[in-house]
Amino acid sequence: MRRGPAALLAVLAAACLVTACSAGEPESIMDKDTLVVGVRPDLPQIGLEVSPGSFQGFDVDVAAYLGKELGKEITFVRALAADRERLLLEDKADLVVATFSITQERKTKIGFAGPYHISYQDILVRPDESRITDVRSLAGRAMCAVEGSNAAERVVEERGVQARLVPAPDYDTCLPKLKSGEIDAITTNDIILAGLALRDGTGLKLLNAQFNEQRSGVGLRKGDVRGCEELNRAITRMYQDGTARMLLDKWFGKSGIDLSIVAVPQFEGCS
């Protein structure tokens, strides 16, 4: 009988292994104290790096609010358009809040909470432009095609509008081209265009053509259902306590974007 107790212990340990002691969940942002958030460094009013490591804009404020609601410390890193997915896939950021449109293709690799804001693809033109009134009238005109963004291509491919695409590395390069007449229009999210126009200050016109809905979500690792659900709750609160309206007014109140209805967007869902 001397081996009795040892055998018993082994049985108990085995029972423990297959039952209660093996509870494990996939990693979630909720298990961390500090979250690394990727924001745009290159978009005025949305996410702009004002000095190394210091950012400001709508997305930055949204990220700070969400961090506070989740009870987490936040540190920011640069997330250029082309880097957003990679930052999450390579674990260099926990969240990406960077005018990151929810698309089904992206959802095959990463997860999305939100959207926290719905914007529309729009068109920015010179103050004296009268012939361009909507997306169809871009046919035959020159348009900036920015690297890493598919906004201009979508006009040609999805809408079948034969516009001429002039490549550019970023939107900052597009602005002087537009003003000099080398191109006739810039197209992307209305809030990006509004930021560019505000900073430029020479009265560039936003058409309010609103032709493609862009649902900006919070990117996170795929499979983090708990984190996604908590983010959705925090976004709901952001709209309910008036913070969303306050932030939109703060950053886009003077931009010409229609802010008459500010309502919590329909969420994508976490599973």
Binding site: M1, R2, R3, G4, P5, A7, L8, V11, L12, A15, C16, T19, A20, C21, A23, T103, Q104, E105, T108, Y120, D134, V135, R136, E157, E158, R159, G160, Q210, F211, N212, E213, V225, E229, N232, R233, T236, R237, Q240, I261, A263, V264, P265, Q266, F267, E268, G269, C270, S271
Partner: protein, 462 residues
Amino acid sequence: MAVTQAPATRPAPAPGAPAKTPVKSPPRPVSVPGRVRLLTGLSLGALALMLGSVVLGALVAGAGVDDIGRDAGPQALATTGLYRNMSEMDALAAESLLQGRERGPEQADLELYDQRRRQIAEALLGAHELALDNTAEKNTITSLIEGLGRYERLASQARLLDRQSQHAPGPPPDDVVAVYQRATDLMHKELLPQAYNLTLESGTIVRRAYEDARSSATLANGAVALTGVLTLALLVVLQVYLTRRYRRVFNPMLLGATALVAVGLIGGAALLNSQDSALQAAKQDSFDEVLVLSRARAISNSLHGDQIRSLIDPERRDTYNHTFFDKSQSLVYIEAKSLGDYQAGLNGAFDDFVGLLGTTLVGQDRVKVFTAFQRFQQSDSQLRASDVRGGIAVFQQAAKADYAAYDQTMETLAKRHEVDFNRAIDSGAGALEALWRWVPAALVLAGALVLAGVRPRLKEYR
């Protein structure tokens, strides 16, 4: 087994009891009943712990089944109709404005509308009960109630203006349209998204209740297994000790007790396990499917709305076309650059599709829903290939019916899953009932048998 290999000359020290007996001299008689008492006490203690674990496990599992099956689950399912009922209420309001002078008596006109309103109120009440201390969810409900009140005000205003205008059947005068426009904007931009989010949040609440129920069930299962094995081991030790000390072959009472405990352990574990798998079936195979189908129906409903709006509002056609494309992609995703591309690509094999419907449906259900979805998209591509007039004709002749058939397919499926859900919950509750009825009784009887088996042996020392 370790028991049979034990050396015959020495009694086993009971776990926790000091092994102080000298090696050569036989133990004094008084230590034998002491040990028997100790072993009996330990066995009965372990048996009591096992009984406690079974009762606790049954209570915990019962709370889980009740929560998912009778409270949170059905309440969450009740909210799934919210989006569709609200959307239909708006469509009925628009329809009544088109009737003009040829409208019937007001009561008949509003009957369906009022029915939807009642269903909405019930769903909101259910959602409120489900929300408990979830403030964001409660605020959403408050905001929906407030918004529906505003919608009612605008809709009645439009209805009154419409009645006063006495217009011919067809589009009402501009002032009526302007008021209705505000109502439908409110519905589509503010209220419907919140209704959709409410269903998502209900799903979250149920998912978390389910995870809690499962992890406590796992703990309870572990406790039953642990205490069961401990009790069995102690009974075997007691049996062996008595056999050696009193030179009897077996103690039949103890043997019976051991068998009962073994049956209790196996039966208890099996029943707890079967209620756990019933809960799993209810949640993953039924509840989740109903929730996904109701979300898909909500998205499809607004997809259908985009189809209509692109016909009657040519100015914003590009936007509606885009949202139609985007929502279609979220239901069934295939790589495509434009809607035309997408609709052509849909003719491929069903297996490759992902998206809300693509990842959830399997087997025959998948084929049925996808075939209906394909037909709906085909008539839509015809509609888009025509001019406005032809488009309206296609809409009336094909697209409307194809949408209805597609929606009907999903509804039938959701109803079937709801029946499955209730069946799974009933089977889980049945397993628990059997657990309550048989296992504690077997364990109590085992305890009595242990006492009955040990008492005569102890008497020998009096």
